[in-house]
Symmetry: D2
């Protein structure tokens, strides 16, 4: 059994790691940290964990964490950059669910995240953890930067088209929609049921932190400069991301359905649906799958890609465990075979 | 007091007409028809109307309806085209909330609606009832085709840009989202709470009936051929439409905020929000307003317009009453001054 | 036009007062106070008010407020008790939507609200503002204590039975359910969409502050000591209260349906539904109505009463305006005739 | 591997059996029947099953089903009574999730279900499948009547009190609340999102089919005649049942918390929460647990029990698999250890 630590366990991604790891046959969660809830049982915050975890939240101790085989960081940006380096230096593997190690250009990172990066050397060492794109380097990585939720859904939707060189990379549009859990468990007015339910709105239209991450990922698979307009929206539901992507075809002879099916035919967690399908976020609720459909409306020169995930699973904690399985040389889908909950 | 009839009163737009007209000081609803619920009190179907309407559903009688000053048709497409002509010929004014008289090209109409149009002459006589664009001709119209919900939100968002000639009309994108009431009160599995809540999906990606209606409206204000990709989505909420529109600027010197404010400065029901605003559908819940914000992300050549309405009010019954007020020479906002319900 | 002030305007009941008063023909809101949002436009917090109110939040000034004919207090308990007395002494009428003046026994009040009452003399002067029970004394009152939301729904449901002496007052049960807006606009974790939606729970089982208020109201209409078990629950919706009440009949010969119909036959805002009806909270959404149904399951000795209101309207701001109308000698339903929003 | 059949697989309980059995290590689902969807892939109806089940719906064939080790019936009442007997006679084990074999008194059954029972002999053979009460007889049963959802939550909440003889059985009240999935996947207007969301109502107040089932279960553990008032309500959410139960103590010296903890201390699936807890339905979402809390408000003579389950899991398909495990002599919690999904 591998020993696992979780830093920042009170948020939704921390709780989701606990839920998903509870039935993983090869790991034990031995430590979970939270400054704010120190001493409390994790099951006092998440009663769904009663009977399965007797863990209490503790304050972070590097020595304690260093005894783990792998540590997940489920912390706001700015935390992992300080705590991860020592763990890495002591040989612990790390998956950071936060944003500290995702953007290779730390000047760009500083611009979007409003602070200087204090450990840029470790950014250079980090591997971007989108297994369907980067599996080989994840296998030997010691530090994995787990992708953001919007970037996961959007990259999986656009990369096959960019790799094949059939769309114009200069004018991409991603109109993305997320459930409210993407905003975390913080007590802010905008996430109250009375503010966020029975309503729909865009946010971050002028610029959202996931924009540079998505552009970096898309740019990695094409030589032409990527131009992307990215508009996220808030959906009155708990979980789920739906990314609707628009691009102009430069090769209209391509069989789009076949392109996607071939690209993902060996991927356990990516499901290219039959032509004409309409992926629903709920088909992935609680599960580590991404479902994709591709359209060419009225046979014109526009391609529309629909991509859905559960933002807390394939968009965060599930993908983090997928990365962990790869890093620990376990079967990639171990502990991740639960199906989406419908209804 | 004007005498008003409603044909097809059991659906959501019929009920919304009753709700909104209950406190209108110049009209009386004297007849409401429904084949399926004939004889029942309207308040048995909609208990919210108890104490205000003693009306019973009756079967349509042309003679009865012909005694009305104005009749609303809140029927599925294919009904009004047969019943409206005689009323028109007998001097009754009509507002059709359905789709029968919206598309001037009846061959195109037939293609999208799957049936031939049986009274094309009346299509020619009909006026498209978007008052902010067409007010003058509505004043003297006898037959008004009330716009669809998506077309209302989308046209109000794109027309100022097209009128000003500052965007490329050939590559427009409208990524639209609607609450479930847009699907009506029919008992279909896809609209069940257990199927439609806690999920998000696109639909009609290959082609939706509102596409030709929107294109017709946009084409009317520009000489350049309009190209539009329109993708509607289903939001897990009852009411509200949010249309997110993307276009490429051909004149980047334009002050977009000023353009919209000037265009709508005399419009009671269109609210151009301050720069940086994020319109929420709930700010229009139950009210006849459209709220709009305009963005130019990262100062590039893309413009993003956000437009929200209540699909049952400004997107249907409220706009129908706005048209009625204009046709009857009443103050345009009479009976329509209620504010959006927040929370 | 009467001049109206609102103290504590940022919460949901303050916003609802603004929404409902916007179309009231005899009053002008001239002042609205908020320490936290001083200087901001009310429409910046509630965009639904854009175009109708140009008011800014100000800090409370007694001189300013004293120029009003009537002032609403929409403040947490403990605020009104200090500010109301001077206004009363200067001849201003006051409706307090908070809890400061509801409980006549200030020792009991102190026990439930965790603080001493600092102006008990004004509690003695205050009139409990449930018009269907207390209309006559409200007419001449200068200070009205507006009832709580649960107390409104529950008293209207049980009082006809107690007045008629047909149930045993010693073993009453009120199993009540409320939408999340009852918890206010405060940023607490328990009211987040991700915590409160798709779930149902009880709260305050050991004791809730509305218990003594309900008991006082019930005790006022019977000589036998009232025993009440009151369990509130949180419903995953924004608005609405449903109180399900259980009592044992001591007179099984009574015609329950007739009893309720007679009791409320002259009440505009109380709708006794036909036998066999199932009141839905949504039939009162946004409206000042209470709908009631009464059952005697299997013809036994138990009576079940179902009572629904919108907690922000008949359970708070609407009832406050109803009281204002009575106090200002205006028609009781002026500005309050809007119907519930279905769907 | 045991071979499993499912009759009536298109409804929510059928789909939930498939979801839960997908990762059960000792069973294979080899047949699933549906007349209405014959020939379709189960994953066309439930895309969440894509990649895990290649099964198509077939029409019921007794010979085919007779090759199964165990068959689940997830059918409306009236179906299993005709099809089960032959399977039983041919040695197949059966768990009926419907109502046909739950009520021992078939005259009473006929009264509530509106049809005569055609195979009363098999009712006599059937064992009521509430493992926490009946485990021993389930072990050797060939036919198990799986309890209803309300009956599961309510019996688990009241039986400890009745067994201990500390409450008066004559005046029990169960005020129960269910998510909309309890109404099934049928296309009826009342279950539409636009009808059932943002609202709350009671139903079946005059009499609900689960009333005789609950009474039978409660009567089995006490000699005093049971009197029960049962009022179910519809909650605007997909899954979850919350039963709030009220009883009068005849022995006020009892330690209620200890009574419940002792009663269920060996039960894997029943979690007695610490004193003062407020069980939330979501803590059991997707999981086979029942969480219970017990209160004595203000130290009086009333006891209030709160009991929550997921109606589709512990209230239907999960409990059916729990029964299957017992009947097949497998570990009782095999395949059922997934935790509730929070958020």
């Amino acid at each position: 059994m591998y020993k696992i630590g979780i830093v920042g366990g009170t948020g939704y991604t921390g709780a989701e790691l606990l839920r998903l790891l509870a039935n993983h046959p090869q790991v034990d969660v031995v430590a979970i940290t939270s400054r704010s809830e120190e001493g409390k049982l994790v099951s006092d915050i998440y009663p769904s964990l009663r009977g399965h975890y007797n863990l209490r939240f503790t304050t972070p101790s590097v020595d304690e964490l260093a005894q783990c085989d792998l540590v997940f960081f489920a912390t706001p940006h700015g935390v992992a950059m300080d705590q991860v380096p020592e763990l890495i230096d002591r040989g612990v593997k790390v998956v950071d669910l936060g944003a500290d190690f995702r953007i290779k250009d730390t000047v760009e990172w500083a611009k979007w995240y409003g602070m200087d990066h204090r450990t840029p050397d470790y950014v250079a060492k980090a591997v971007y953890g989108l297994p369907e794109i980067n599996r080989d380097v994840i296998k030997t990585a010691q530090l994995v930067a787990n992708p953001g939720c919007y970037p996961t859904a959007t990259q999986l939707g656009l990369i096959p088209l960019l790799e094949a060189g059939v769309i114009d990379p200069a004018h991409l549009i991603a109109d993305a929609k997320s459930g409210v859990s993407g905003a975390g468990r913080g007590a802010n007015v905008g996430s109250l049921l009375c503010e966020a339910s029975e309503s729909f709105k865009a946010y971050g239209v002028a610029g959202h932190r996931h924009l540079p991450e998505i552009k970096q990922g898309l740019q990695a698979v094409t030589d032409t400069p990527v131009g992307l307009t990215f508009v996220p929206h808030l959906v009155p539901m708990i979980r789920g991301i739906h990314s609707t992507m628009y691009a102009t075809l430069i090769d209209t002879s391509i069989d789009l359905q076949n392109l996607f099916e071939e690209r993902y035919k060996d991927e356990f967690f990516v499901d290219v649906m039959p032509a004409g399908s309409l992926p629903e976020t709920r088909s992935t609720k609680g599960a580590n799958f991404c479902r994709i459909a591709v359209y060419r409306p009225q046979g014109g020169d526009k391609v529309v890609v629909l991509s859905v995930i559960d933002n807390l699973v394939k968009g965060a904690s599930g993908q983090a465990i997928q990365n962990m399985n790869i890093m620990l040389d376990l079967p990639e889908n171990m502990g991740l075979t639960a199906l989406g909950m419908m209804p």
